[in-house]
Symmetry: C2
């Protein structure tokens, strides 16, 4: 098996984030479930945009944020995702490439616009997302570059991809190519409502070993196993999955394997400004650690360090070099 050219390939929805501060009352008035992601159509997107406050725009998307984090840690990263041939698509491609991420998926022409997610950030730093998928719905198996998947140590897939039907096919094709090349496949469950829509299929992906490494937060994991008990959910996960990382907010994360569970505390932060990207950047640190052969505990700690950086400022991607931050914390990157 040749040495991989990439530490991590991310495949996900290519989304521009439109971020605004909002009061909790606004979420109630708009009927939104706090801290989750809502899929919306173009009409609802226009209406919500009109109602929300002044915003700041930045490239986002869960797997996109993760690979930007891998690059910021000094890793070699690639991304597959569908933008349109429009201003937001240009912006997304620029940010990906300027971050040092290989990104060559051809843009959609003459179709839906580039996806956008209206992210409402409440005073407690929680984010509530409203995503119009646009061009992302047209990511298909033909967009999966076999050479890139085969050259990535780990292919990382978003649970969010399970919504657009074409993307589901792309997801399966990528997993097949990766395994045929002797590489690893990783999945994040993404969102509790996403899990609720596709519980059976996600369990099947995990139990069939289509997924080697699972990411979930506490809420998503409990949704997966339909239990209010974290302990019960983790116990079920140990039966189903060879390696998982479960984030539990301010408590940090758990590394879960059939033979045990290892907790890692969160890296302290002065103040939580915006939780957008916290899970994505935890995944970046953990995956980078795995790709570089770190011990699981070190990989998890690198995850919490990357997450701590991104929640200290507005925006879903690192604002400073994560490699520098990690080096200051004693990592030899």
């Amino acid at each position: 098996m040749p040495e991989p050219d990439y530490d991590v390939l991310g495949i996900g929805n290519a989304i521009v984030d439109i971020m605004a501060r909002a009061e909790d009352d606004f979420l109630v008035r708009e009927g939104l479930n706090k801290s989750t992601m809502h899929l919306i159509d173009a009409e609802r997107a226009d209406g919500l945009y009109d109602a929300m406050g002044p915003a700041i725009e930045a490239s986002g998307g869960s797997a996109g944020n993760t690979v930007a984090g891998i690059a910021s840690l000094g890793g070699r990263a690639a991304f597959i995702g569908k933008v349109a041939n429009d201003a937001f698509g240009d912006l997304y491609r620029h940010d990906m490439r300027a971050s040092g991420v290989h990104f060559a998926t051809p843009p959609l022409r003459d179709g839906a616009p580039t996806a956008r997610s209206m992210i409402l950030i409440t005073p407690d730093g929680e984010r509530t997302m409203n995503t119009y998928l646009g061009a992302c719905r047209l990511l298909g198996p033909g967009d999966i570059d076999e050479a890139v998947v085969g050259a990535a140590a780990i292919t990382y897939l978003e649970g969010y991809l399970w919504d657009p039907p074409e993307a589901k096919e792309a997801f399966r094709r990528a997993a097949d190519i990766a395994h045929a090349a002797g590489r690893k496949v990783s999945l994040t469950l993404s969102d509790p409502f996403c899990v609720d829509r596709f519980r059976g299929e996600f369990l099947d992906l995990i139990r069939s070993r289509t997924v080697d490494i699972l990411f979930a937060n506490d809420t998503e994991l409990r949704s997966l196993y339909e239990t209010a008990s974290r302990e019960a959910a983790v116990a079920a996960l140990r039966e189903d999955c060879q390696l998982a990382a479960v984030t539990i907010g301010a408590e940090g994360a758990l590394v879960v394997r059939p033979d045990g569970v290892w907790p890692t505390p969160a890296t302290p932060v002065d103040s939580v400004v915006d939780l957008t990207g916290a899970g994505d950047l935890f995944a970046a640190g953990f995956l980078h650690g795995l790709a570089r052969g770190m011990a699981l505990g070190d990989a998890a700690r690198l995850g919490t360090i990357a997450a701590a950086e991104v929640i200290g400022h507005i925006g879903p991607r690192p604002a400073t070099s994560l490699r520098d931050v990690a080096r200051q914390a004693g990592f030899a990157l």
Copy 2:
């Protein structure tokens, strides 16, 4: 004279900011004068965008930032500026209206795109701007809404407007309408290179009393009077202008009138993240104070409070309610 409907009307270039961190070496390599604004064409804009790092986008423009600040202070604000009928234009209009600013200038159709400024933020917090004016070049006298100008206590104009020839006409027309309605006209000199291009015309605007209230920073003022001495420049200004506010960076600001000069210290900040918008927000506080009949010293202090908020985070507009910030500092707003 009827009571004004607006405290401040801003007329300026409607620009979307594309902000990225950059090292000083990058500025040198690209031949950029630090802390100033460069006008660039579409080709140079593309080249610089390709070369710069991952960015965050936000509505900007000097007078646009100022009126967003007025609204954040609880004032009644309006804006006149030219966007195109495109994604960045929609974004700009949204942000203006969502900030509570009246903005009804019709967008340009089938012409140049909405203006963008690539803003490079160096580790010291200084910003170096590279502006492609696009649709802004088409702001003309026909865009000056007579009713809005006549209903604004103060009409505030950017020196930057003196670059596009049509905008210059718009500027003169606005000043004429404002004075005919018994209102005040204010100008910011905007940038030392801008002053260098139009020194004679700016002096004429001031000396002819086309401008009642002048804003400048130390560098711009010294460029205006072609002197290395701040004292000499301020002395010359006292001869030419009935009321001016001169910002001097970390030292704060000077209120300058023929009968005297009053210094106001800067409001301390924990750390300077991004100086973008500092002058614009100082102007917001000072103008809001004037429009509400505050003493000059209080208006200047309100300016330093608004400036301190905006330099504490990335982005050219307030991230929190300036009214709340000012109330905490003892202002009855």
